[in-house]
Amino acid sequence: MLKAKYKTGLVFFPAFDWAISPTHPEREERLLYTQDQVIEEGIFDIKGIKEFKPEPVSKKDVQRVHFCVPDVKSVMTESHFISAGGAKTIGSAVLNKQVQKGFALVRPPGHHAMRVVRGARGFCNVNIEAIMIEYLRTAFNKKKVAIVDTDCHHGDGTQDIYWHDSDTLFISIHQDGRTLYPGSGSINELGGPTAHGTTINIPLPPNTSEKGFLYAINNVVMPILDDFKPDIIINSAGQDNHYTDPLTDMNFSAQGYAKLTEILQPDIAVLEGGYSIEGALPYVNVGIILSMAGIDYSKVKEPTYDPDSIAQSPEITRLIENTCKQVLSFWQQRKKIKESRLRDLQKFDKRIRTIYYDTDDLLETQNEIIHACSKCSGTIKIESSIKQGQNICAVHIPINACKSCIDMGYQWFALADKNNKFDKIYLQDRPKDIFLEGK
């Protein structure tokens, strides 16, 4: 009889009654054929595989991560609460030791959602992995977390949320930003001054195939994970690197995804993008589930699978090897560079950015100030505005904050309160796990 080597939990939430719009890639039909395949394969009957019912997340769960403008309810639909809840449910099941591994097959996705949320970017409103991680940190006292984002698009939202957090290693493998939305994710994006080096980007050229992905995993991701020694490994399991995906230009396969999962051995996987809903998703998802559970996946192949026709050129192989070499050398020098960055700074560091919400057509301007603290991750203040108004000021006190950073956070919050320029002010106090709002 078929039996899982690793006890594996699944949350399956296809949201059969939710779409961004009727013909949008993020629509009711997206996981329909995956459901057909998963049920026809009898996956839920396999000994050691258990299906969990997702519990929607609470407002408090969301506010641990995000500053929602003007408020949580305005930027989220029921589906987002359940999708993030699916991730949270599966994360809890793993940390409760009900299962050894977990996979949340949920939609809508979340990895483009940044700390401040004004609407949808790249089909994402809230960051479902981050909501799960911050819940797990609080409820289970887990400190070091590694996120490996294997979606074809750069996980710019997750990167933004963990930019200043040296306890969270964020690695994104994606199609080169010069050729695909959202454009970011170059190898030089390495994190803020207090968390230099724990943001890692591995951009891969279009037409990268199994060989290239597995090379990057084996030669960069795995050695870095060995160094970092995370308490949990999370895979943002986007499936749009597939050779049939309509939105991207890569040549990955179900066999490749299953192998990648087998090498990476994530504790928790969360579905992100992937829009080849018939040709890829049914097979990729079955491949990932079997691989996580430690079951033979060698016969899980797309009907159109022909490894020779999607093999990558030697030139691509060379490009990938070069990128990987550079990324590794950045990792090896990270401590030295972090020290020198902190030394060069005058107490504070600044980021000024414009962020585009493509789905909702909003252009946001953000001024971010971080206390370049040598004792903790450093308190952050974000002032954000859009053309339509809604100026806000948001203060984030990190979970590992030192006393002076906590005090600074409350001072900034009090000061902003006196300032008439803001329509809303927010404070995230992660050590105390509270969220305050003003005006």
């Binding site: 009889m1 078929l2 949350v11 399956f12 939430f13 296809p14 949201a15 059969f16 009654d17 939710w18 009727p22 013909t23 629509r27 009711e28 039909e29 329909l32 054929y33 459901q35 057909d36 395949q37 049920i39 026809e40 394969e41 009898g42 009957d45 299906e51 969990f52 019912k53 997702p54 929607p56 029921e78 589906s79 359940i82 309509p246 018939e278 049914p282 097979y283 079955v286 079997l290 079951i295 033979d296 060698s298 016969k299 899980v300 192949k301 797309e302 009907p303």
Partner: protein, 556 residues
């Protein structure tokens, strides 16, 4: 007049129902080695003094197929499965003559790889040499397109007595379960066929022309003739008989927990609005997970005759049974003996029961009366825990739409109905344990046979339409229809209901007894390159389990 006959593991109950209620009841011990004889004997008894033409309907519930499977007394059959991409079908091997062949269909029913005729012919020859007479054929996604199963059957049909196809057995997805179900169906067929021939012959000899029905695990019936095509549906009909027995006397639409306390086991099931709660996938039997539709039931190895033991100073009850209770001549103490000692049951030999319970009491250093109470209490508590677990499991079943999550409907029964031999003695105790009113089903000791007698004929139809491929099909019903790209969900539903009614009548339903409902009604826009190219429609309808018309008086 209707005859209801329930062949249980310990006893066989038979009832005769007339216009005014139960006319006659009869109970004999089941002969596990000769079901036909057991059936024959009980029919003879109940028919004494009755004119054959007065009988209008006979319903049987038997454990024939169940026992054959559980005791592995089934003949060798052949299984041919076509998997295509996915989990290796080798993992779902059901029996020695099991062959995985080429041929593949995808989730929308499109042919991906054709079958290999030579390969099938070679297997056919091998099976013939082994003197195999019955073969099951199952393809992955055959419920979306049965082409390969039909092609394989056409190759096999000249050489084998009967070939069963996966898509004809259930319209539901789940390839491993379809394999297991088809296997069981193929394997119990010869046993069921002999039983069928014997019963029909002997009833004909008695001059009985009334239709014979057989109870299914979903608590509905099918005609005896129809059961030849799907004998596996008769598996585990016992709990269905008891839940229908309770339903026959259930006064209102509440959520009711039904407990049938038998000699060997207690079967737990649920009624909501006088409809039994169904299990989401299908029965599990003898290590096989199947697609056989069934009521949600849990069976716990605690009954009146369960063996009571002491292990390491701790009291244990069941799951095994070792003959009757000591009060009735058995050799080991049982909960029934505890009930006798507690003076709740006045039958049987008190002294023998006392002796049995005393031996238990001695091992745990308490008085005989205390030991009797402890046994009684433990049996009740174990049943209570099992019932609570079952409700928790139903309530934690995942759902796939926002609508259902928001609804967040949770089952919480407000009352209990109990039946079975020891039922009256447990009712007060259950009231305390469950903290809800408990009522004893009238005719509690034969209520299951009453339930079987009054069960309506049920069936299910699954329809699948794809307006891009311009096809609507219900493979289980051998139905395929060309449709236009404007085909709607409403039309699909109309076709499904029509197919359902036709099927119901074919398998034995009365035209005035077709209460139908829609189990699944989904439509998805299929979008490719940001353009809607068609609709994917999925409909599932059923004849709702319930009582046949005209027997509501039992409730009053």
């Amino acid at each position: 007049m209707i005859i209801g006959l329930d062949v249980g593991g310990t006893n066989t109950d038979v009832v005769l129902l007339g216009d005014k209620g139960v006319l006659k009841v009869f109970k004999i011990a089941t002969d596990p080695n000769d079901f036909f004889n057991t059936v024959l004997k009980s029919l003879q008894q109940i028919l004494k003094g009755i004119k054959p033409e007065e009988i209008t309907r006979i319903v049987l519930s038997t454990t024939l197929a169940t026992n054959a499977i559980v005791q592995n007394k089934i003949p060798h059959v052949g299984m041919i499965v076509a998997g295509g991409p996915g989990i290796d079908p080798f993992f779902f091997k059901t029996n020695p003559y099991y062959f995985s062949v080429s041929g593949s269909i995808d989730h929308r029913g499109r042919e991906i790889e054709a079958i290999n005729y030579g390969e099938i012919e070679k297997i056919a020859r091998e099976l013939e040499i082994k003197k195999i007479k019955h073969v099951g054929v199952v393809g992955k996604f055959s419920v979306r397109n049965p082409l390969h199963e039909i092609q394989i059957r056409d190759i096999l049909k000249k050489s084998f007595e009967k070939v069963f196809l996966g898509h004809e057995i259930s319209g539901n997805l789940n390839f491993p379960r379809r394999i297991a179900t088809t296997y069981l169906n193929t394997a119990v067929y010869p046993i069921h066929e002999i039983f069928f021939n014997n019963v029909t012959k002997s009833l004909a000899e008695k001059g009985i022309k009334a239709p014979i029905h057989i109870l299914k695990s979903d608590s509905g019936t099918m005609s005896f003739e129809a059961s030849l095509d799907s004998p596996s549906q008769t598996i585990i009909s016992g709990p269905a008989a008891s839940v229908m027995g309770a339903m026959a006397f259930a006064k209102d639409d509440d959520e009711i927990l039904v407990l049938d306390i038998g000699g060997t086991t207690t079967d737990i099931s649920l009624l909501i609005g006088r409809v039994p709660v169904m299990s989401p996938l299908g029965i599990e039997i003898g290590g096989h997970k199947t697609l056989l539709k069934s009521i949600m039931t849990r069976s716990i190895g605690i009954g009146g005759d369960s063996v009571v033991k002491v292990f390491d100073k701790k009291l244990e009850i069941g799951p095994e049974r070792n003959g009757d209770a000591m009060a009735f001549g058995g050799l080991v103490p049982t909960p029934t003996d505890a009930i006798v000692v507690l003076n709740k049951l006045k039958h049987g030999c008190y002294n023998r029961s006392y002796k049995g319970i005393a031996s238990v009491a001695k091992k745990i250093d308490i008085s005989v009366e205390d030991a009797a109470y402890k046994i009684f209490d433990l049996a009740g508590k174990k049943i209570f825990k099992e019932a609570s677990d079952m409700i928790d499991i139903i309530n934690s079943k995942p759902v796939y739409t926002i609508h259902e999550i928001k609804k967040n409907y949770k089952i919480s029964p407000k009352k209990i109905m109990i039946l079975g031999g020891p039922a009256p003695y447990f009712s007060k105790h259950f009231e305390k344990l469950f903290k809800m009113p408990v009522s004893i089903v009238p005719r509690w000791n034969v209520a299951n046979a009453v339930g079987a007698a009054l069960s309506r004929t049920t069936c299910e139809v699954t329809l699948f339409a794809d307006t891009k491929q311009k096809i609507a099909c219900a493979p289980e019903e051998q139905f395929t229809k060309k449709i236009t790209s404007h085909f709607t969900k409403k039309e699909a539903l109309k076709i499904a209901i029509k197919l359902l009614k036709e099927k119901a009548i074919k398998v034995g339903a009365e035209t005035n007894d077709l209460k139908t409902d829609v189990i699944e009604n989904l439509q998805f826009n299929m979008v490719r390159n940001f353009r809607t190219i068609g609709k994917n429609i999925r409909i599932k309808v059923q004849v709702t389990p319930g009582l046949i018309n005209g027997y509501d008086y039992l409730v009053k």
